[in-house]
């Protein structure tokens, strides 16, 4: 009996071209588009920023500073007379202005002057990039002044060697792949696609109920739990196929079209499969509960997808949670899609094992049981 129910469900889904497109094409397109669009967000240094220099100082220290800057950030663009307009319009991303008297001031430790090196950025420059450039400039000026000071004191200290031996180390903990747009977007939109089964399940269930087929199945002795399992299993399979396809797109397609490839290096496959199963169970259970709740085709096609879109917005799929204010971050921590996303990131980015995903898997499983229970009660009422 179960085999007949599963076959019927899969055939009905396969014949629904738009439903299949929504489940497979939509997340695939989101992965491709968002990974390419956000490529520079995760790799800001990959493409040097366009900048210019206005050096109003003729001293050697200023020239040394700007030489070093050009070595690290690429050569500056020649500035036109109305460079302020170009900067305001974003055609230049930033301009370094060295005030007259900077060199003299840098060489005189007792100087009370106010000559400065100014970093002027275009209005739309990413805040993180702006802060990075500012920090780099402070470091460069500080180093320059330290070199001048050491030379004046004549202590026999090699300033260049001192700069090379700064006791600071910055590195990522763990051996997982570095975060890239693909590494973030594949799990995000895979998760979104998996939860989007709500549209197909609701739509098919409403049709089944309205046409009397469900009544006929009941009259043939199909028990409610069998009907529920008959819907659960095919969509777990669909979720599995979605996961395989989205991971394949990340690994093989993205490098071909100019993106970074998804790295599964060091990934704990067991943890990944358990994580995907927990997400799938939560997604299909939510879909079944919503399918039992809606009463018409139009409700099925609006309520479910709207809830999924909201969950995606709140859960960090559309906007990373670290960019959200604290209140929204707290709210996100209650959204099942966020549990799934954090769990997947734990596996794919941080090489997390079973212990690392246990909290997410537990929460998703409890959510699935709650939804299944509610769905079962609603299902019996609908029969």
């Amino acid at each position: 009996m179960l085999a007949a129910l599963i076959k019927k469900e899969l055939l009905s889904l396969l014949r629904d071209v738009y439903g299949v497109a929504a489940l497979f094409m939509m997340p695939a397109l989101f992965i491709i588009v968002m990974s390419m669009a956000l490529k520079d967000f995760y790799e800001p240094a990959a493409r040097p920023l366009i900048y210019g220099v206005e050096n109003l100082d003729q001293g050697k220290p200023a020239a040394r500073l700007l030489d070093r800057w050009a070595q690290e950030n690429g050569p500056p663009q020649p500035l036109s007379a109305d460079w302020h307009t170009e900067l305001a319009a974003g055609r230049l991303q930033y301009v370094l202005v060295v005030d007259a008297g900077f060199s003299a001031q840098a060489s005189d430790l007792d100087s009370k002057g106010d000559a400065k090196v100014r970093l002027l950025a275009e209005p739309g420059l990413n805040q993180a990039l702006f802060e990075t450039k500012r920090a780099k400039l402070i470091e460069a000026v500080t180093r320059l002044r330290a070199e001048i000071l050491l030379a004046q004191l004549d202590l026999g200290i090699n300033a260049a060697a001192l700069a090379e031996s700064i006791p600071v180390v910055a590195e990522r903990a763990g051996a997982g792949p570095r975060p890239t747009a693909v590494q973030q977007n594949v799990p995000a939109w895979l998760l979104f696609g998996m939860f989007f089964v709500v549209a197909s399940i609701s739509s098919l269930f409403v049709e089944e109920r309205a046409c009397g087929a469900l009544a006929r199945l009941r009259s043939l002795g199909a028990r409610p739990w069998r009907l529920v399992v008959g819907k659960l299993l095919p969509y777990l399979l669909v979720n599995g196929l979605q996961a395989a396809l989205m991971l394949a797109i990340g690994i093989w397609l993205m490098p071909v079209i100019g993106g970074e490839g998804l790295s599964l290096q060091g990934v704990n496959w067991g943890a990944l499969i358990v994580m995907l199963l927990a997400i799938s169970l939560a997604a299909v259970s939510l879909a079944l509960a919503l399918a039992c709740l809606v009463g018409s085709h139009s409700q099925a096609m609006t309520i479910g997808p709207t809830i999924i879109m909201l969950m995606a917005a709140l859960g960090g799929i559309m906007v990373p949670t670290f960019l959200m204010p604290p209140v929204m971050q707290t709210l996100a921590s209650y959204v099942p899609m966020n549990w799934g996303f954090e769990g997947l990131l734990n596996v794919l980015l941080r090489n997390g094992d079973f212990a690392a995903i246990a909290p997410a898997v537990t929460k998703l499983t409890l959510f699935a049981l709650l939804m299944l229970g509610s769905g079962f009660v609603l299902f019996r009422r609908r029969l």
Partner: protein, 253 residues
């Protein structure tokens, strides 16, 4: 075969009973016409017999065994062909038959054999691989009946089986139902078309506002109508006159 004794049913959200003190019996080889205006309780009665609703009062037995026990042992002894096209429009005719055959517990070669026989019985073999959504109204009705026949039911519940079909399809369906009864199946047939009931029923039960207002062998009911002077108007049978006299002429909500 089927005995219904003093059954009653009230929907949870309703203050009025949908069925009250309904009793009648159906035997093998008989077509029992179940008549009544909208809201009379016909569909509720069919739903109770099909196991879609739980009996609240009274008793329904099949060959002396309570209906629930009969259904628990072999639910496919009773088959339902609902008023709606109760199949999957995106599946082909054969896929629909295969699905319902599988759910009802038919497997292997027996399943294929029954699918073939049912396709042949309602003469839709030519459309076996056509998606159900693309069938005409008459073919859909025939598929609806074919699915109900898959498990060779002993009691067949037909709820308005000819709604929306052309005269040819209607004649075909009525002939098919008559053949089923002749083969020993008990058929309960609800319809608004009095001429259909007159054409195929052996026994008629009139329901109104959830109660049986009249029942008996069709020949006796027609004779009674005749004796009461309920003469048929042109294009209207005596049964319709009796129906109108029993259920009054007012429109039902």
């Amino acid at each position: 075969m089927l005995t219904i004794r003093q059954i009653a049913y009230r929907y949870p959200a309703s203050t009025e009973a949908a069925l009250t003190d309904v009793s009648f019996a159906a035997t093998r080889g008989q077509v029992l016409g179940l008549l009544g205006p909208n809201g009379a309780g016909k569909t509720t009665l069919i739903a109770l017999l099909a196991g879609l609703l739980r009996l609240q009062a009274g008793e329904i037995t099949v060959d002396g065994l309570p209906l629930a026990a009969t259904r628990a042992r072999k639910p496919t002894r009773i088959a339902l062909a609902p008023q709606e096209y109760a199949f999957y429009p995106s599946l082909t005719v054969t896929e629909n038959l295969d699905c319902f055959a599988g759910v009802g517990g038919l497997f292997g070669s027996r399943r294929q054999q029954r699918i073939g026989e049912c396709l042949a019985f309602v003469q839709i073999e030519r459309h076996a691989h056509t998606r159900a959504a693309r069938l005409s109204g008459g073919l859909k009705r025939r598929l609806n009946l074919a699915i109900a026949l898959l498990h060779e039911p002993e009691l067949l519940l037909l709820d308005e089986p000819t709604v929306g079909v052309d005269p040819q399809s209607r004649v075909f369906l009525l002939d098919a139902i008559r053949k089923l009864a002749q083969s020993g199946c008990a058929v309960i047939y609800t319809s608004h078309y009095m001429e259909e009931i007159e054409a195929i029923a052996d026994y008629a039960v009139f329901l109104d506002e959830g109660r049986v207002v009249k029942q008996g062998p069709l020949a006796e009911l027609l004779a009674e109508a005749d004796a009461a002077g309920l003469r048929a108007r042109p294009r209207h049978g005596n049964l319709e006159q009796l129906f109108m006299a029993l259920t009054d002429h007012s429109l039902r909500g």
